[in-house]
Amino acid sequence: MSSLPKRIIRETERLISDPVPGITATPHEENLRYFDVLLDGPSGSPYENGVFKLELFLPDDYPMAPPMVRFLTKIYHPNIDRLGRICLDVLKNNWSPALQIRTILLSIQALLSSPNPDDPLANEVADEWKNNHDKAIQTAREWTAQYAK
């Protein structure tokens, strides 16, 4: 593996010294491109009081290519499938090399506050979200209590 670009070192230092509220990102000692992420469920959302584990990987061509991120904690959300993959524009065709790990994690936090069932990754969840909204929120709360501890 090639040496770590200064940008990644700088981003990592800042994530640790000046963390985003409700988000911690810790690099693996043996692979500094690989981060363990803990994300607090936003208050006012059905994910409130949950702590979600994610993994984040910076590919070799980062920042020309976006970080790869997925949820490890099970989550009931129309834009996150059961493999933890996240449907979020900035992780795909709206990626820009001026974005950073912290901006991406903030976007994911915002996605928990504002699900978008019209651009679903988990189709059944999205249907429930649109057609049986109260029950969907209830399920999201239950999953949060059960899995996001």
């Binding site: 200064k6 981003e11 020309m64 790869m68 493999l83 993959r85 709206n94 820009s96 090399p97 001026a98």
Partner: protein, 178 residues
Amino acid sequence: MPTYEEEHGLNSTNNNTEGERPNRLTVQQALNNFINTPTDSRNNLSNSINNSINGINNVDFNLLNQMMNSMNTILVDKSNTNNGVSNEFIDRLERVNVKQLKNDDTCPICTNEYKDDSYPLVVELPCNSKHRFDLECIVPWLKINKTCPLCRIDVTIKKELPVLVDSEEEDEDWEMYG
């Protein structure tokens, strides 16, 4: 190092036993993995492939792999050939005189201060804010995208606009971009 697809469970879904027709579910999921970017071309591709798969209960996974590989090649090829700017465009980018750079100005891509380099080669994009980047940092991006990383404007459109504003009809086009 495992690929994204391996890491993100493309293979593990082969063991899916939850659905009534597990193989078909797997096909859909696998395809979704590739078709998560909602451009028209990808949607069309995904529709036609989804249609051809509907009704097949037992899918030959070698065949599926071949299909996915060729799809991947198509998508990658498309992004490499159609989405970037030309070399001429890059050559014509406005270069910023080092005297215009402040000591703490940083490149938004590598986050280094331009003046860390004793001989910085900094360019300005033709977006409204004339955003600046190290030439070395912006070139790999512009080879695959036409947008400014900071304001996301299509940097190739603006250059053509002065030609367009001559007639009234095309003033309307101008507003579309504005």
